[in-house]
């Protein structure tokens, strides 16, 4: 390194001057907080027609798939809620006010009727029109079912036993009536919320397989369901179209997917489709209140009203612009800077606590122009224990299988404290598979009664009663093998990888770690990316099944809006990461899917059984809405948006 050869005589003063200069500037920053915008006068309640609303997408979220029949790789709540459903209405809309219930007013059909011992479903369509003049017809429902038959494995919401496996026939009796006959009796609540919820009628303009073809050129759209014949292999892992109609459906699916950017036969083919979303005439055929006018590959897009929308509520504003953000901090900067009309407040910036989970506290001092509204998602958060784990000298799974241990572990989780301190009151304790908030018709009183409230004394007593020597300073060990259920000397220590999340996630994990230590349960935390955590925490058996616990969030009940357990807790279910297996639980679930049971018994059972360790249910987003923008509240718990309800005042 080249040198300085002179004997330098720098005085410390010069350096100090430099330091002071920079410090002075920094001082001004925090002194200058008095530049908050002046308080808005009380808004007049006159509706002002028009206006542009800018809305912030959640951090690191980009909307990038438009064809509303997609596989898991493009399935995201944001693709569906923020874009697709505003353009292409689903048959049934879920989310009424602040509950997840079915909303008949903006559904395309009247409520389904179940007859013949719940084996026949009749759907009567309302008179809706597509923007190209077509009517929304029963055959278009059949069109969607045809595609499903051929591509069930490429459909994100498919689960074995659900549609189309349990569908015997689908018939369009008239332009407005569809009859679905099932292979056996079903549970109407489950079928409506988890199966019918998947259907989006497709226009005949999409029944083509090459650009420029006339609407209906292919055979798929008009084909009767029975004529679409496929062959499924024994393992239910490959579906081959055999009839000409089925082959036509395959071609239509491939074409529409390619137009959306994904080539199912050759993913590596060059793809530039994102730029065409707003200009492709295919996607301009809409039956929803909006159509896409701008879409750039960075993720910014614009919705403008569809003048031909047939629904009850027509848009009042001129434009909705969706903006993507790289991080919470970037969005908050933009929000305070005045660039956003509907944004969100990161938890670390909440300055006043909520009055109650649903009643917000005072807003941030820099956001005097905004109202804050907590948005609770329709989902649950939990830590997953691996019941087959061979970690901790082969004992981890066996320990998890002991109910008393799970109870002790849960009893050490002080949910109310974390909600109060970390979420500033915007949350509610959860003790079961059905969320207590948002208000819904499914949660039982028992679940809301919090049977495993924070009680470290009881936790320690449970462990001691089962032969453990509790050592809060170090680690608890098993003293009496007969009572413990594991060999003597086994330590109660676990590794818990969790997914990088917000600052409050880190605080939550650290607080729980300290809490478990009270009973000598030594939990070693490690943070990883979301993908490495879920990549590791898969259902497994055998020696290599070493993961012990994991936390990456939880589960969102979408598109399976019915909070039943067949995807999560049933033995062998694909998303039953911890391999929880309980015969009574399986029987109860079956009853809720195919019998006529409500969710009550199953739910209450799981509340007592602790198949996972419940975490507080915090508000998914603290939405900030400009004071003069009305109609955004109440927010739909399924995280879909209805911009047609929004309007400016004054």
């Amino acid at each position: 390194m080249p040198s300085l050869r002179t004997g330098r005589r720098r005085g410390p003063l010069g350096i100090a001057a430099g330091v002071l200069a920079v410090a002075a500037i920094a001082m001004l920053i925090f002194a200058g907080t008095g530049s908050a915008k002046p308080n808005d006068a009380a808004a007049h309640s006159r509706v002002k027609a028009g206006g542009t609303v800018t809305m912030a997408l959640p951090p690191s979220t980009v909307v990038n798939y438009i064809f509303p029949f997609m596989g898991l790789q493009f399935f995201s709540v944001y693709n569906i809620s923020y874009m697709q459903q505003n353009l292409f209405r689903p048959l049934y809309w879920f989310g009424r006010g602040s509950t997840p219930a079915l909303n008949p007013a903006i559904s395309l059909a009247a409520l389904p009727k179940y007859t013949k011992n719940n084996t026949v479903v009749t759907i009567n369509l309302k008179p809706y029109k597509w923007s190209n003049g077509e009517s929304v017809t029963a055959q278009q429902v059949v069109f969607w079912m045809n595609i499903l038959k051929v591509q069930k494995l490429g459909w994100a919401a498919y689960s074995p036993g659900g549609m189309p496996d349990d569908v015997k026939s689908v018939v369009a009796n008239s332009p407005t009536k569809v009859t679905i006959t099932l292979t056996g009796p079903t549970n109407p609540g489950w079928f409506t919320y988890n199966q019918l919820s998947q259907i989006t009628p497709f226009p005949m303009a999409w029944d083509i397989s090459a650009t420029g073809q006339k609407a209906g050129s292919e055979a798929c759209g008009k084909a009767p369901y029975a004529k679409v014949v496929v062959k499924t292999d024994k393992k239910n892992s490959k579906v081959t179209p055999t009839s000409p109609e089925a082959k036509s459906c395959e071609k239509v699916f491939e074409y529409l997917s390619r137009q959306s950017g994904f080539d199912p036969k050759n993913p590596k083919a060059p793809n530039n489709s994102l730029k065409t979303y707003a200009t492709n005439p295919l996607w301009q055929v809409v039956d929803g209140p909006w159509h896409l006018t701008k879409f750039d590959s960075a993720g910014t897009f614009t919705l403008e009203p569809n003048p031909k929308y047939s629904g009850p509520v027509k848009p009042k504003i001129d434009k909705v612009v969706m903006l993507p953000y790289t991080s919470n901090a970037a969005e908050f900067n933009a929000l305070v800077g005045g660039k956003i009309d509907v944004g969100y407040l990161p938890y670390e910036d909440v300055t006043s606590p909520a009055k109650s989970p649903l009643v917000p506290g005072k807003n941030h001092p820099r956001l005097s122009d905004f109202n804050i509204d907590p948005w609770y998602g329709w989902g649950i958060y939990y830590i997953v224990p691996n019941f087959n784990s061979t970690g901790n000298n082969g004992q981890a799974g066996k320990i998890m299988k002991q109910l008393y241990f799970r109870q002790a572990f849960q009893l050490l989780i002080n949910q109310p404290l974390y909600i109060e301190k970390l979420n500033k009151g915007y949350g509610v304790p959860t003790y079961g598979p059905v969320p207590v908030l948002p208000k819904n018709p499914f949660a039982t009183k028992f679940a809301a009664s919090n049977p495993y409230s924070y009680n470290p004394k009881r936790a320690i007593a449970l462990l001691t009663a089962h032969g453990w020597k509790v050592d809060p300073k170090n680690v608890t060990t098993c003293a009496d093998a007969a009572k413990c259920g594991v060999p003597a000397g086994t330590k109660l220590q676990f590794t818990l990888p969790y997914a990088v999340g917000s600052a409050t996630t880190k605080q939550l994990m650290e607080a729980e770690q300290a809490s478990w230590q009270q009973a000598g349960i030594k939990v070693t935390l490690s943070v990883g990316s979301f993908n490495t955590v879920i990549g590791n925490a898969v259902p497994c058996t055998g020696k290599s099944c070493t993961w012990e616990m994991a936390f990456w969030g939880g589960w969102i009940y979408a598109p399976d809006f019915y909070p039943s357990g067949e995807l999560l807790f049933q033995t062998g279910a694909g998303s039953n990461s911890g391999s929880y297996s309980d015969k009574k639980n399986d029987a109860l679930i079956k009853d809720t899917n195919f019998g006529d049971a409500t969710l009550a018994s199953w739910q209450n059972y799981l509340v007592t059984q602790l198949p996972v360790f419940w975490q507080p249910n915090q508000a998914a987003q603290l939405t900030e809405i400009r004071k003069n923008l009305k109609g955004v509240v109440p927010q739909n718990p399924l995280q879909s948006i209805n911009p047609e309800n929004w309007f400016f005042t004054q």
Binding site: M1, P2, S3, L4, R5, T6, R8, R10, L13, G14, I15, A17, G18, V19, V22, G32, S35, S60, N64, G71, L72, Q73, F75, P160, N236, S237, G261, F262, P264, K268, P270, N271, N272, L274, G299, T300, L323, P324, Y325, T326, S327, A329, A330, E331, N333, V336, G337, K339, R366, S529, F530, N531, T532, I534, G535, N536, L567, G574, S575, S577
Partner: protein, 316 residues
Amino acid sequence: MIGYLARRVVQAILVVFGVMLLVFLLEHVIPGGAARAALGQRASQAQIDQFNQLNGYDLPIWHQFLDYCRDLILHFNLGYSYRKNQGVAQLIQETLPKTLVLVGISTFLAVIVAVPLGVLQVVRRNKPIDYILTGTAFIFYAMPAFLLGQILILYFAIDLSWFSTEAPQSASAWGVLSQPKDLVLPVLSLAAITIAAFSRYMRSSMMEALTEDYVRTAKAKGASQRRVLYRHALRNALIPLITLLGLSLPAIVGGALITETVFNFPGMGLLTTQAAVNNDVPLLLGTTFVAALATVVGSLMADVLYAIADPRVRYA
């Protein structure tokens, strides 16, 4: 020199190949693989198998790598990113120019400020201005990028409203250039740190150059202070800086993750990070490829310039 260059080009190809292979192998260490990362927690084993079969992940690793290389070399096809629903080549084509604009302008600014700053510090050696500049340089150097960025936003964008809180949001490089006002804060944020580093370095190398024999000779021959400074010392003092720039090339191409995050600017830094975090194999390989190219080119430039500057060095 020609022989040396030819050897280096061959080596460059080997380096790029080596990097790709290394990253490729490391990718397979991550559990769940690309399938689980793309499909998420709801995927059944059957769906994962189908995904792997469609995308070639069920082939042996060497076969996968050879396929990738063949697509890259013969078809310029860098693959497809599920997460972004875009071809990797397109993604890089769109993101790289934007990044070059942002980081390139910052680096350029850093150079044109740092050089005179370094010279000034030498000319006014040990005077107050030297101390202040050196002090400020130290402090900016020591500031983490996220701190500087947020402070600039807080003061200039929010409290004073002179600038936007975010960098230009346009998807194209031209669009970014057409919003120069929004570029000010992110460029300043990046440049401040680089200027600090470069000017410190410039100062040292300038001082060193001034002690060389040829300077004393020039002075003895009666050259003015100015002539000595600019014609002799500066020219030679610049050479190490140029080699430093050559070695900065990977950083310019690699983007600035933290600045991009703070200023909401999805550039190459964020693209690479997201690819790593999302286990998006083709995208990660694609961005690594670009970084590797930049590294070998920059490294070669640096070595060549150094050899030109100092004939004593033998690369035998």
